[in-house]
């Protein structure tokens, strides 16, 4: 009998329902300091999470020492007794899931040599802009597995691979950074290096900006930072029902430019959170959040769905190894009116500093623009020394000038660049 079976068997005597989540991950990586590798790294991680359920009471605990599962089960039972009962309609029963792994590439191997190759290629890319020098960088490869099982006989397993690289460069006091991350062995490290060095080199001698109103092109990165701070939490069911979302009670209303749509697409192969089942064993599905500008719905894990009478959406995720489930997203895709966003004069916003300080409820933000630069005719022209940008995320999305054809994966989102007009900047 393995650990999972042993836990479920023991729990069966003390709680009507139980769930076990076991994850393991192996990784190898290295970090650059300037142009040299300073550290090589590996990790061996394991996480065990146990939840028990009785009469709407839920108790959870975790450990990264699976041999201590008995203490972990005891802690989960103690937590269950203290929790307030909430509406609960049971853990999922086993379902037929499609075969095959959505986020696994056998070409991602945990070879230190492969890590060294990624770093070398980034350095070579950065060398295309000799006025910039590399300050730091990293590359990593990992393989992980998860198993979720419950007392209704459900037991699913999945494996995934992950590759990532990032680099920072500086020219004078102008800095640039770039990264790439994927489940597949398809990173483009030379481009990562080249872009970081480009933004550092381009920003040298940035000119002061007159305070005023400008057209902006938000890179997918800058857009992700603002959406992650404000829009993403506003779509989480628990925030909606707890009064922490400006979108509460507005399903069916137009909340964005009618040409914008946002949905979670967990079955997109190699999507950032691609999976057939979520962190509670609920089968995943496409979830429309905003359809043609109209708010279509919110995301729910089991607990929040049951509590608020909503349908579970297969949106449970776990932070870290063995962490308790919460509501999240798998692969959030934003689609909009495609246009040549770079064609006309605008200020390009590569990323913003301070998005996490935005007011998560009202959507108001006041951030500093990183690597601001004028663009004209699709090319970067005069760099701007510094720009403070104050605005509102919801207003920003309510009328857009267009989105780019090319998209990019940032965190759990797949985003285009977005052009907006009439934004107030202070130099």
């Amino acid at each position: 009998m393995d650990t999972i079976e042993a836990i479920l068997e023991r729990a069966a005597g003390v709680a009507p329902e139980a769930e076990v989540y076991l994850s393991r991950a192996e990784s190898v990586g290295a970090e650059l300091s300037r142009d040299r590798v300073r550290v090589g790294q590996a990790s061996h991680a394991v996480g065990l999470g146990i939840r028990v359920f009785d009469g709407g009471r839920v108790g959870a605990s975790s450990t990264n020492d699976p041999s201590r599962w008995e203490a972990c089960l005891e802690a989960a039972l103690a937590a269950m007794r203290l929790a307030d009962p909430q509406p609960w309609h049971g853990l999922p029963a086993p379902a037929e899931l499609p075969a095959g792994r959505l986020a696994f590439d056998p070409a991602v191997t945990l070879a230190p040599g492969a890590v060294a190759d990624l770093l070398d290629a980034m350095m070579a890319g950065a060398a295309e802009h000799p006025s910039a020098s590399v300050t730091a960088g990293s590359a990593g490869l990992s393989r992980s597995s998860v198993e979720v099982a419950n007392s209704h006989g459900l037991r699913y397993a999945d494996e995934e691979t992950h590759a990532s690289c990032s680099i920072e460069a500086i020219a004078g006091t102008s800095t640039g950074f770039e990264f790439d991350a994927s489940h597949a062995a398809d990173l483009d490290p030379a481009r990562v290096g080249e872009q970081a060095a480009f933004f550092a080199a381009h920003g040298v001698g940035g000119e002061a900006l007159a305070a005023g109103t400008y057209d902006l092109v938000l890179s997918p990165l800058a857009l992700a930072e603002l959406l992650e701070a404000v829009l993403v939490p506003a779509l989480v069911g628990r925030n909606v029902h707890a009064g922490r979302s400006r979108l509460a009670g507005r399903v069916g209303e137009e909340i964005m430019d009618p040409r914008l749509s946002l949905y979670d697409d967990p079955h997109r192969p190699m999507g950032p959170g691609a999976a057939w089942f979520d962190a509670e064993g609920v089968p995943t599905r496409r979830l429309d959040l905003v359809r043609d500008g109209v708010l279509a719905g919110f995301a729910y894990d089991l607990r929040t769905a049951y509590r608020f009478g909503a349908d579970p959406t297969g949106s449970a995720v776990r932070g870290g190894y063995g962490g308790a489930p919460s509501t999240g997203f798998h692969t959030l895709v934003l689609e909009g009116p495609v246009a040549d966003v770079m064609a006309n004069t605008a200020i390009y916003v590569r990323s913003v500093v301070g998005a996490h300080t935005a007011n998560t409820i009202t959507g108001d933000f006041s951030v500093e623009v990183s690597n601001p630069s004028f663009i004209e005719g699709g090319a970067f022209t005069t760099p701007v020394r510094t720009a403070m940008w104050g605005g509102n995320v919801f207003d920003l999305l309510s009328r857009v000038e267009g989105v780019s054809t090319e998209t990019r994966t940032v965190g759990e989102m797949v985003l285009p660049a977005l052009r907006v007009a009439g934004q107030r900047l202070v130099g």
Binding site: R36, R38, A42, A78, A79, G243, I361, T362
Partner: protein, 438 residues
């Protein structure tokens, strides 16, 4: 060739209680056990992070780390540094002496005080981590200590006519139990959320501002602390590199990082066995020293080791601990009077810095317009930005009422507890950002 190794093993228990709108969502504890094995090869480091560590496997992990060190090309040297373990301050009120049910009851009390008719959501979260840290190195340095950190935060969200605002308070302590006297925080969160309903959006621009001790502490942390980190200085990623001895602010401005102070960023010894010490980053207005690990001290010089910190199982990095502006000789009233017309900024919603470019940005929780030296109308959504080398020259007055606040600081994917503090300070020409219009 293996020149040095060390093992830092942290095991313990964490507790998390979450009460949302009067409902106990969770009240649970979890066990953790993580270690990091570092080996210095003929050039650089090899590092293995491992869950569920047992000393029996040390040789295997040292061999694995040594192989990884073979990837490195940077010649790492370690500076000599004194070893010392400070006594952990005895618990003023030991969280271990309260049961999970008692903590849950106390937190529910805090959450209840945040409620009011216009408050539509209240949430309170308690966190506690007890840990035993064991360290051993090939230099023969060994130590072990136990520490508990506990604290809570409380959020109130108020709404009126579609306007939504929030108030947020937090208290944390080392070997203390701030939850016991937490009710005032719930009240404060409620009052802030309701008062902000009537606040107007701040209008940005250049002006004189008075920062309260919490925000001025974040200012010291963002504007000076990060750029003083030895690893950033070594990478050429700090505007302070090569500027030791240069004047950066007026005489009387002294900014310190001190992990030996029994505040929230306290470490009895650093994460590589080095004695924790007070380092004056800016002394009397002059750039004085950087924060270091043994490695960055050897590479950069100027400063002291003893500033290595790490999350369990993670690589030690140069980190701030308790960062603060020393008291000056002015008073809060003098800061306001000298401000004349400007803004008084209160509390922090976090900040960020790009130390290479020398630009920082952080947000106040709220502020007040100052007219004729008197705080008047309340403003919301207000931020402050500036450049490191210029802004400290704008510090015109430093009061004598320093207070410390607790928070967490992220770097390289690791979050560590920190204390930030300052007295009230007056900036003579600050860049204020806001979404309002004249």
């Amino acid at each position: 060739m293996q020149r040095y190794y060390d093992v830092r093993h942290v095991a313990g228990e964490s507790t998390h209680i979450d009460i949302d709108n009067g409902v106990v969502e969770s009240a649970s504890s979890s066990l953790f056990d993580r270690a990091v094995v570092r080996v210095l090869g003929s050039s650089g480091w090899g590092v293995v992070s491992v869950d569920n560590y047992s000393g029996e496997d040390l040789d295997r992990f040292v061999a694995e780390a040594l192989a990884l060190a073979g990837l490195t090309g940077e010649a790492v040297e370690l500076a000599e540094a004194p070893h010392r373990v400070l006594p952990v301050p005895p618990p003023s009120d030991d969280p271990r002496s309260y049961g999970l049910d008692e903590k849950t009851r106390l937190l529910a009390g805090v959450e209840a005080t945040a409620r009011a008719p216009e408050v539509r959501n209240t949430r309170a979260v308690y966190t506690e981590r007890r840990e035993t840290v064991r360290f051993a190195s090939s230099d023969g340095v060994e130590y072990a200590y136990e520490l508990a950190r506990s604290g809570f935060n409380v959020l109130a969200v108020a709404e009126r006519n579609g306007v939504v605002q929030m108030g947020y308070e937090r208290r944390h302590a080392v070997n203390g139990f701030p939850l016991r006297s937490g009710a005032a925080c719930g009240e404060k969160a409620r009052q802030t959320a309701i008062a902000l309903l009537d606040a107007r959006a701040a209008t940005g621009g250049r002006m004189r501002v008075v920062l309260d001790p919490e925000l001025a502490g974040v200012f010291a942390h963002e504007a000076v602390g990060h750029a003083s980190e030895g690893d950033l200085v070594r990478e050429g990623n700090s505007v302070l590199a090569g500027r030791v001895g240069e004047r950066i602010g007026a005489p009387g401005l002294t900014i310190v990082d001190d992990p030996s102070l029994p505040e929230f960023g306290f470490d009895p010894v650093d994460a590589e066995g080095v004695a924790t010490v007070r380092t004056e980053l800016v002394k009397d207005g002059v750039i004085n020293a950087f924060l270091h690990t043994r490695e960055t001290l050897a590479a950069v010089g100027t400063g002291l080791a003893g500033h290595a910190r790490a999350m369990p199982g993670e690589v030690p990095l140069v980190r701030m601990s308790n960062t603060f502006v020393e008291n000056g000789d002015a008073t809060y009233e003098e800061c306001l009077a000298e401000c004349g017309t400007g803004m008084l900024l209160i509390g922090s919603r976090g900040g960020q810095v790009d130390p290479g470019r020398g630009m920082f940005q952080f947000n106040a929780e709220y502020g007040f317009l100052v007219e004729d030296g008197e705080p008047g109308a309340m403003v919301r959504d207000v931020s402050l930005s500036g450049d490191i080398l210029g802004t400290l020259h704008e510090v015109a007055l430093i009061a004598n009422d320093r207070r410390m606040h607790q928070g967490y600081c992220g770097k390289g994917g690791q979050s560590v507890p920190v204390g930030d503090g300052a007295p009230h300070i007056l900036l003579s020409n600050a860049v204020v950002g806001g979404s309002g219009h004249d």
